[in-house]
Amino acid sequence: MRSDILAYIKGLKLKNFSTSDELPFSSGTELYLKNPKRIYVDVEQVEITAFIPLLNSPDVDQSVHTVKVYFAIDAKQLPADYAQVVSLIRLAKDSITVPHGLGKDAKSTTDYVNDMLVTMIEFTFTKLI
């Protein structure tokens, strides 16, 4: 899922933003805060839960895959294309094919760190396993 989202964002060829293959790790300061307008995709988190509990067989399970995308911009000067970029990245959920999929969701949230506006877009893909 991470590689799919990364490939999708790279394919957007955004004019004022770049995309990094690195993970958004922190060595004191998160990479996306060090490098504004650079988009980072975190590793995928997976949770497996029962979708249909069964009496006499192993449950029908679902796996929920969560991938988070981060980027930061100067909060004092919101880029003119900010809303469009967020909207385009959110659409990654529709470009990814999930076999035995149960649902796809994308949610964007923002937070301020000093004078930076950090945008986090969280993708959730649910499928049967």
Partner: protein, 166 residues
């Protein structure tokens, strides 16, 4: 400690429902290769006695007596392709239970002999056995729950029998 029966969900050996076909009416012994019904969501045993009631001049309450019972085994299951469709498309009543599958047993109106393990306890195993017909199939799937699930009823001809063996 009370003797509650508490099967562990997800365990193959605790609730076991086996079906067989081609067995004479009145014989409850399964053949060598019965069909084990997989992926049961729930199962309900219905033993409903009909009641004859009457009133008497010397009583302020109705009198009742149990007559015949209507028995059935109802369940919901996740549709498993092999056990549902069987191994032979266009099977007939004389084919094996595996060949007919659950849908074939219903379509062919095949007399089914069943054995349900009700309680697992080694020496205290309890099986409910009987014969009947598969009915009430209604597979359904939806966008919210994209897995085929179907109710099934085995409408029983005759009595349920409790047995210590399969």
């Amino acid at each position: 400690m009370s003797n509650y029966i508490n099967p562990a969900p997800g365990t193959a050996s605790q609730i076991v429902l086996k079906l067989d076909a081609g067995i004479a009416l009145g014989t409850l012994t399964l053949g060598a290769s019965p069909l084990t019904v997989p992926a049961l969501k729930d199962i309900t045993m219905n033993a409903s006695n009909d009641i004859f009631s009457w009133s008497q001049l010397d009583s302020t309450a109705k009198k009742q007596i149990a007559t015949t019972s209507t028995n059935s085994l109802a369940m919901n299951l996740v549709v498993d392709s092999v056990s549902f469709f069987g191994t032979t498309i266009g099977s007939t009543q004389t084919d094996t239970v595996a060949a007919q599958g659950i849908l074939g047993l219903s379509r062919n109106k095949t007399l089914v002999t069943f054995s349900m393990k009700f309680e697992e306890g080694g020496a205290t195993d309890k099986f409910i056995k009987g014969q009947g017909y598969i009915t009430g199939l209604a597979p359904t799937v939806s966008a919210d729950s994209p897995v085929w699930v179907s109710p099934i009823t085995i409408t029983v001809t005759g009595d349920f029998t409790v047995s210590a063996t399969e």
